[in-house]
Each structure stands twice: as structure tokens, then as C-alpha cells.
């Protein structure tokens, strides 16, 4: 598996799109740091971008990478290797290269700015972690969707729908149901509902860390009220880990039963 991981990673690291992706973060972070001297504001601005962009790019890359490397995967399948190590290796290479783009693109400007000397070091690290978690989660989901759908257009469509659902539609539904049923105690429902959306969870995690009540929203406030800041962060981190593991397990399962 490590061999496959290494080659997928280096294959992707040299792709034009990885450079563009990394360059975008680099430019964006640099200009934010230039425009604002308040590091926590920069972290919040970046958070808003990352919550949409990381999942979107991970989804697109995941589907594209799977379909583009299909013939190569067939070559690997004919080699004396386990199926699961081929697919998990490819997935980890993909998620790893996306995370590397993100870490370099945003990390380098922050470090150069001297974030580790400031009070914002913890917030910055949480932001980094969330970018990595979202890259892993959404590339796993995309990989799984691509693995399940031979038809590229269908696969692309479904993957985009999944992103749209978690990034936009889910919150809309949640808000609608909260305002519709506002006569009832909804805290527990909201708490459970936010577990089912990794983007929401990431937002809560970073806002708990930043401790900004005004931006927390209903679910964030519920998290803090019920679990407290420390436990709230631990729970959201734990559930994010489950969000990585479940689709990864799905990739393993589907790859063992598929014909190529």
C-alpha cells in the first residue's frame, strides 16, 4: 500500500491543478494577511473560504483522479497486489496531496508572518487541521461515489450534489425545520443533526476554539451549552474522525466486490 500511496502522491503533486490549488491558497492568505493585521480575523475569513472550497476541490479531484487513473488501476490490479491496498493507497495519496497543497498554501504565509509567536497559534493549528480533515472526508466520499458509478457524468453529478447538499442545502433544511418547529425544544435535535454534516462540525470546532459567540449560530451555541468548550471540541473531532473512517471502509468494501 505504501508504494501505491507514494506514487499516487508524487503523480498528483506534479499535476498542474495541484499547483493552481496551492497557489490560490498562497495568494489568498498572503493578501488577507496584508490587508488585515488582526490574525484572528484572517483565521475567520479563511475558515469561511475553507469550509466551502476544501470540500469542493476534494470532491472534484477525487472523482477526476479516480476516472483518470482507471486504466492504470487496471494495470495495478493485474499485478500481485491486494485490491484493498491499491485503492486505499490511491485514496491516501490523493488526500495527502490535497492536504499538502492546503498546508503549504496557507501554512507558509502564516508561519512567515510569525503566527507561532502570537496568541493565535492554537486557532491557526485548528484551522489547518480542519482543512486536512475536510480534504480527507470529501475525497473519500468522492472516491467512493466514483468507485460505485462507472458512468463518469453520473459520478461527477452525484459528487457535486453531495457537496452541494452538505455545503448549502443541509443548513437550509436545518434552519427551516428549526424555525418551523420553534415551539418545541430542539437542542438535542440540532446537536444530532450537526453530527451528520462534516462541514457544520468543522465550523463548530473552529468557532469553539476561537470562542466567538456571535458567529457560532444555533448549533454551535447548543454544542457549547451541552458539552462545554473542551468536550464539544473533543466530540466534534471524534465525529470528524468517524466521517473519515466510514467512507474509507466503504471504499474497501466496494473495491473488494467490483469487476474491472
Amino acid at each position: 500500500m505504501l508504494e501505491i500511496l507514494k506514487y499516487s502522491f508524487f503523480d498528483l503533486i506534479r499535476s498542474r491543478w495541484t499547483y493552481i490549488y496551492c497557489g490560490f491558497y498562497l495568494l489568498f492568505t498572503l493578501s488577507l494577511l496584508w490587508l488585515s493585521n488582526d490574525l484572528s480575523k484572517v483565521v475567520i475569513s479563511l475558515m469561511n473560504v475553507v469550509l466551502l472550497l476544501c470540500p469542493l476541490i476534494a470532491t472534484m479531484f477525487g472523482v477526476m483522479y479516480y476516472y483518470n487513473s482507471r486504466e492504470f488501476t487496471e494495470l495495478l490490479l493485474a499485478q500481485p497486489m491486494k485490491r484493498t491496498s491499491i485503492f486505499l493507497g490511491q485514496y491516501l495519496g490523493l488526500a495527502g496531496s490535497l492536504s499538502a497543497s492546503w498546508l503549504i498554501g496557507t501554512g507558509v504565509p502564516f508561519v512567515l508572518y510569525g503566527v507561532f509567536g502570537s496568541a493565535q497559534a492554537g486557532n491557526f493549528l485548528t484551522l489547518m487541521l480542519i482543512g486536512v480533515a475536510l480534504s480527507f472526508i470529501f475525497s473519500a466520499l468522492a472516491f467512493l461515489i466514483a468507485l460505485k458509478n462507472e458512468n463518469r457524468i453520473k459520478g461527477f453529478g452525484l459528487a457535486i450534489l453531495v457537496w452541494l447538499f452538505f455545503a448549502v442545502v443541509y443548513d437550509g433544511f436545518l434552519l427551516l425545520s428549526l424555525s418551523y418547529f420553534n415551539e418545541y425544544p430542539l437542542e438535542k435535535f440540532a446537536l444530532a443533526a450537526s453530527m451528520f454534516n462534516p462541514i457544520d462540525l468543522s465550523r463548530i470546532l473552529i468557532l469553539l476554539k476561537l470562542d466567538i459567540s456571535a458567529l457560532m449560530g444555533f448549533t454551535g451555541a447548543v454544542f457549547r451549552k451541552f458539552l462545554g468548550t473542551g468536550l464539544g471540541m473533543a466530540v466534534s473531532l471524534g465525529v470528524l474522525a468517524v466521517w473519515v473512517l466510514l467512507p474509507t471502509w466503504g471504499i474497501r468494501r466496494v473495491s473488494l466486490r467490483k469487476d474491472f
Binding site: 508504494e3 501505491i4 506514487y7 503523480d11 498528483l12 506534479r14 499535476s15 483518470n68 487513473s69 482507471r70 486504466e71 492504470f72 487496471e74 494495470l75 495495478l76 490490479l77 493485474a78 499485478q79 500481485p80 497486489m81 491486494k82 485490491r83 466486490r257 469487476d259 474491472f260
Partner: protein
């Protein structure tokens, strides 16, 4: 070496292989022939474990291959379409396969034979289809495996490489290997094959030596023999669907 028993495979409603029984126990070259969509590639991919049988068993070197992967060390496989990661260089791809497969490999001679040396530092995306097929061939033949499976090996090759390929295959036969080839190029079959398996609509319709094939159908070339095999088959189908009509076999 390979023994296939009662192999069925369906993709959804499409029943591709309908009970294939085959044994490849003697060394030599077997050509697997059949029209497009007759199940040749599915059969080959089943042997490699890429396609999972709906029913039936496949044994390689006496062991059932279900859920196994180590047996593939004994198989060299040339896939039908040669597509590789675009960003890798030829040299890196070779290095990668060498990393993945244990044991000694012998690619230097093959690289010279197929005149690939000038391309070693090129990215695979920039290679022409024929050159990629040559890379594919080097990857296949650089390991010493007792079983060799070639799916359309001649696709996109120029005449010189074609000659080299034939020499290579003959050399492997001389080493006592079991070789399976699917192809639509009948001249290749005529020159190389010891035996022919003819697959049609998921059944094996003929298996035997080239000579038997030609004699059975009273034709001078494989191409014509196959054509008359197909015609008879059509005749049989018509006959069975219109039972009341009398139909004389050619």
C-alpha cells in the same frame, strides 16, 4: 497451469460467459478468438481476478484463485488499452512496477529491442499510442512468469515492432511457457498459435489445433475457417428458431 470450471459471468442482465470449461495445462500458445463482445476479455480478466465470477471456479497452479493475489506473481498480463498516469516518466513507471513486484526483472534488453531508450525521460502523456503499447509490452515481458496473457498485443504497433513482438512470443514459447493471446489479426494466429479457442456468445464453440480447425471447416486459412464457423453457427440459430423450416448446413 490454469483450469476453469463452469465459469459464468453476468453484468446485470448481460450474461457474458455461460458456462466455460477450459484447461490450459500444456505449454504453448493458445489464441482465444471470437467476435467483439464474445467474452474474451471477460474470460481473461476472470483469470486475473479483476472480474469476479458469478458462478464456477478458476484454479491457477492447482489453487482456487478466489480472494487470492499472490498467484498473480506467476502471470504476466498485457492489458488491451495502454494508459498510464500522465505525469509519470517512462523510467519512473518501470521503476514503480519493479518496486511493486518482487524478484529479478530484465527490462534493459527489451528497452533496446523496442527502441524505447530515447523515450525513457519523456512523460507518458506525451507518447504516441504505439510507443505506449511498446512500454506496455516491456512491462509485461520484463518478468519471467510461467503464464503470459496478451490482450490484443499488436494494437498500434509498427511493422518492425510487430516482428520483434512475434520473435519475443516465440522465444517465450521455446522456454516452455503457457501463453494466451486474444487478437483479431488472423495472420498472427496463423503464424504463432498452437491451438485455437473460439468463443461465441459466452460459449466455447471450438477448441483444437490450427490444423484441426482448417480441416473441420475445409478451408485453407484460419480467417476463412472462422468465417465458415460463424456461418454455420448462424445457420444453427436460424434453424432452431424456425423449427419448421428445413435448413441445410453448408
Amino acid at each position: 497451469m490454469i483450469s476453469i470450471h463452469h465459469l459464468h459471468k453476468s453484468f446485470g442482465k448481460n450474461h457474458v460467459l455461460k458456462g466455460v470449461d477450459l484447461d490450459f495445462d500444456k505449454p504453448g500458445i493458445t489464441a482465444v478468438l471470437g467476435p467483439n463482445g464474445s467474452g474474451k476479455t471477460t474470460l481473461i480478466k476472470s483469470i486475473l481476478g479483476m472480474v469476479l465470477p458469478s458462478e464456477g471456479t478458476i484454479e491457477v497452479a492447482g489453487k482456487n484463485i478466489k480472494g487470492q493475489w499472490k498467484y498473480r506473481r506467476q502471470i504476466a498480463y498485457l492489458p488491451q488499452i495502454a494508459r498510464f498516469p500522465d505525469n509519470l516518466k517512462v523510467k519512473e513507471l518501470l521503476g514503480m512496477i519493479k518496486d511493486l513486484r518482487v524478484g529479478p526483472s530484465d527490462e534493459e534488453l527489451l528497452i533496446d529491442q523496442f527502441e524505447l531508450r530515447p523515450f525513457l525521460d519523456s512523460r507518458l502523456a506525451n507518447l504516441s499510442g504505439g510507443t505506449r503499447q511498446k512500454v506496455n509490452l516491456v512491462l509485461t515481458f520484463m518478468y519471467d512468469c510461467p503464464i503470459i496473457i496478451l490482450d490484443e498485443p499488436t494494437a498500434g504497433l509498427d511493422p518492425i515492432s510487430m516482428v520483434r513482438l512475434k520473435e519475443l512470443i516465440e522465444h517465450q514459447r521455446a522456454l516452455g511457457k503457457t501463453i494466451l493471446i486474444t487478437t483479431h489479426v488472423m495472420s498472427l494466429v496463423e503464424e504463432l498459435a498452437d491451438e485455437v479457442v473460439y468463443l461465441l456468445e459466452g460459449h466455447i464453440h471450438f477448441r483444437g489445433s490450427l490444423k484441426t480447425l482448417k480441416e473441420t471447416y475445409g478451408e485453407a486459412s484460419v480467417e476463412r475457417a472462422i468465417a465458415s464457423l460463424l456461418e454455420r453457427q448462424k445457420g444453427k440459430l436460424e434453424f432452431s428458431s424456425n423449427g419448421h423450416q428445413t435448413f441445410v448446413l453448408a
